[in-house]
């Protein structure tokens, strides 16, 4: 069991109902963690993985990146700056 922090941005905060949360997880990869979070939520709809980009410890990350103890893992919807 690893303790990590999950951060959400933009619409994901509304869809999943939190901004930042500490998690106890056994997920091996970032993708597994995302599926775990989505499966625990009541929300359907636009939570498809392909529209989301993960970041780990303030760096863009791959979905297959391993989850390590103490990681700060963020999920980002498409950018909409400008």
């Amino acid at each position: 069991m690893k303790t990590i922090t999950v951060e959400l941005f933009g619409r994901l905060k509304d869809q999943l109902g939190f901004v930042q949360r500490r998690y106890q997880t056994e997920s091996a990869t970032v993708a597994d963690l995302w599926q775990e979070i989505v499966s625990q939520s009541a929300v359907n709809g636009k939570l498809e993985q392909h529209s989301i980009r993960p970041a780990v410890n303030d760096e863009f990350a791959r979905w297959d990146q391993p989850v390590s103890e103490g990681d700060r893992i963020a999920f980002l919807p498409p950018s909409a700056g400008g």
């Binding site: 963020a74 980002l76 950018s79 700056g81």
Partner: protein, 134 residues
């Protein structure tokens, strides 16, 4: 140079970073908050950023522009927080010896910032609703 700003963007202060006796052309873009979007009347909006990532990705885009185009200086600043109609949301300024490179680099920076820098927009509409716009 790429920055996030919680205050109104100070163009005068930024322009002098771009001045250079070798420069013959200076192109700037300002994104203003407009009163309509996707068929709705907008009354205000808020930008949220992932600051550490946004600054790093923004700096990377500026570097790319300097490698791809024959320019002298390039600066981009993006507002975060609450904005009103007419407020400046983003400013891009590029100086170069010649105008072609200045136009191309300004456009490149703007397009890349919009698509790659992790910033999100929450609009407030005239019907009392608000929502994230992507």
């Amino acid at each position: 140079m790429f920055e996030l700003s919680e205050q109104a963007i100070d163009i005068a202060g930024l322009r002098h970073r771009l001045q250079d006796p070798r420069a013959g052309g200076f192109v700037s873009f300002e994104g203003w908050v407009r009163d309509h979007n996707q068929g709705k009347t907008v009354i205000a909006l808020a930008y949220e950023a992932y600051p550490a990532l946004a600054r790093r990705e923004g700096a990377k885009i500026i570097d790319e522009a300097k490698q791809r185009f024959d320019i002298l200086h390039a600066v981009c600043v993006h507002r975060v927080g609450q904005l009103a109609i007419g407020d400046m949301a983003v400013w891009v300024g590029v100086s170069a010896a010649h105008r072609d490179a200045a136009f191309a680099a300004c456009r490149y920076i703007l397009d890349e910032v919009k698509s790659r820098v992790p910033i999100w927009k929450n609009e407030s509409w005239s019907d009392g609703q608000s929502g994230w716009v992507e």
